[in-house]
């Protein structure tokens, strides 16, 4: 008796594996692919960082239903994206579009890379020049060397005397 009861209880847990699984049917494989890629690229407006495919929230399932409807009616990717952005704004796209306001986002890293390379290049160019200057200062001609030796010698004498 207890076993039956335990078994029934266990069966209740089968209901908990309730992920965002809606079953949608599609006209053809292309439509299904479009649906999948769109629901992975569209952000759920409420859940901050889940795409439509993963989110459990009611708004996400509404939007999945919408995308499915539009895909079944033969809408293309651009139409569906525009539909969503018109209602929810740019935030809803995981891949931001290339407009004037997103130039900084798309080109910024490249610009920084170029600046970085430029800075490194300028620094490297300066180094050999400095070394060359030091080398030139390092070579003294014979007369100067003699003078240098005299000075060093007199200096050492003074030190030893102290």
């Amino acid at each position: 008796m207890l076993r039956i009861f335990a078994g029934l209880l266990l069966m209740l847990t089968f209901q908990l594996g309730n992920a965002a699984i809606d079953t949608y049917e599609f006209n053809d494989e292309q439509a299904q692919k479009l649906f999948r890629s769109l629901t992975e690229e569209l952000r759920c407006p409420k859940c901050q960082n889940q795409n439509l495919a993963d989110s459990n929230s009611p708004i996400a399932s509404d939007l999945r239903r919408e995308v499915h409807r539009m895909v079944q009616e033969g809408g293309d990717r651009q139409q569906i994206v525009d539909f969503m952005v018109a209602r929810y704004g740019e935030f809803v796209l995981y891949k931001p579009r290339l407009t004037v306001s997103t130039y900084l986002l798309w080109y910024g890293p490249w610009a920084l890379l170029v600046i970085g390379v430029l800075v490194v290049f300028l620094i490297i160019r300066k180094k050999p020049k400095q070394q060359a200057q030091q080398q030139v200062a390092g070579t003294l001609d014979g007369q100067q060397r003699q003078r240098l030796d005299e000075l060093l010698a007199s200096n050492t004498e003074e030190r030893e005397q102290k």
């Binding site: 407006p45 409420k46 901050q48 009611p58 708004i59 509404d62 939007l63 919408e66 952005v85 018109a86 209602r87 929810y88 704004g89 935030f91």
Partner: protein, 178 residues
């Protein structure tokens, strides 16, 4: 020139610090409405009160008003309900959209807690909500006399929120009564 360059990291730090400090008071989950300054989306839906027939976006023209998206399953809507009643007493016109709800429950709720709405639209599938860009109830919009959406607030309406809504309404020609 060398000296000034040394201060560059510090200047960058100050700049970043300023933006980060500002970021502390921003709410990342708040979405700006994509419909600001755009006309109310076209729709044709039944009134909550079945006797009143159908409504369309034309019914939203003619006065500056608030549009409140609400539902009985939404606890925050319950919180703001009494404040909406107060606004109605002040003479503010409020349109209601009953979002993804059950008709009987909604009607019961209004009977029990008061009806601040001038008219109430029954949107059981959330179609109008989707066209408005609603992502969570309650949401309150300011609509001007031509049916153009001017502002959206997500969350309950209270005294503070009303001040903001009021200033938007006044800027589009609303006249406060009494």
């Amino acid at each position: 020139m060398r000296r000034t360059l040394l201060f560059l990291p510090f200047a960058l730090f100050l700049g970043m610090g300023f933006f980060l400090w500002r970021g502390l008071s921003l709410d990342p989950s708040e979405l700006p409405s994509a419909l600001i300054d755009r006309p109310m989306p076209a729709f044709e839906l039944a009134a909550l009160d079945q006797a009143k027939g159908q409504y369309s976006q034309e019914d939203f023209k003619g006065r500056v008003a608030l549009l409140n998206v609400w539902a009985t399953w939404c606890p925050t809507c319950k919180q703001e309900h009494s404040y909406l009643n107060e606004l109605k007493r002040k003479g503010v016109a409020i349109y209601g959209v009953n979002y993804k709800d059950e008709r009987d429950k909604a009607v019961q709720w209004l009977v029990r807690d008061g009806d601040p709405y001038m008219l109430n639209i029954f949107d059981p599938e959330g179609r109008l909500g989707l066209d408005l860009g609603v992502y969570g109830a309650p949401e309150t919009y300011v609509i001007d006399a031509e049916g153009v959406i001017r502002y959206r607030h997500v969350g309950a309406v209270d005294q503070q929120v009303w001040q903001t809504l009021k200033s938007v309404m006044l800027s589009v020609g609303w006249q406060e009564k009494g």
